[in-house]
Symmetry: C2
């Protein structure tokens, strides 16, 4: 599982860290580039409950399941991929230019990670 997380960071230019976490804020596994300037666990924990709320809002508004979320801020971009009702992947990019590659990797590799849960 950790090799899969590492490959997501290494194959996404500009990415620094990734984490697999439950919506309850409990980490399953994570990988960070040695140069990473962020604490991906603190970041994902801060957002986990809010993402769970956004999921509930999307459901109540008849939009169906929340698939993914991209949050672009001045000093970093966070890509969230919901794996199922309990777990999500969060990838942090310092440089957002290749976020499309990151989003694709989260989707494809996320499926194999979900099968391991």
């Amino acid at each position: 599982m950790n090799e899969v997380l590492q490959s997501i960071v290494e194959q996404t230019p500009g990415a620094r860290a990734v984490i697999l976490m439950g919506f309850d804020g409990i980490t399953v596994d994570q990988y960070a580039d040695p140069d990473a300037s962020v604490e991906i666990e603190a970041l994902a924990m801060e957002f986990s409950f809010r993402i769970a709320e956004l999921r509930a809002a999307a459901q109540s508004l008849d939009l169906g399941d929340l698939l993914d979320l991209t949050l672009r801020a001045e000093r970093g971009t966070l890509l969230i991929r919901c794996l199922d009702r309990e777990y999500f992947l969060a990838l942090f990019l310092e440089d957002p230019r290749h976020f499309g590659k990151g989003r694709w990797l989260l989707r494809t590799k996320g499926m194999s990670l979900r099968d391991q849960l």
Copy 2:
């Protein structure tokens, strides 16, 4: 202002409605395609407070200002562009394939709308 909103919807393939709203949930102006299946105002109101919370979280995590947010669900994609500390644009797409075009329009046309506020 309404013509600018209309042009964002018409120039984004798959887009159905757009709204300019305050983070307090009060609408400034909106435009919806006659075929739109969603209530963009209800949608944006539901998310306005949550977006404000995400902005605060991004600030507290030292990510700086929240610039934009993409929320992709099974039956629709919502693009949010923060114009300043008080207002945001929300564009609803039934078909998310051209969301990059929508995000670009929100950014460029958002600047001219902000100057009118």
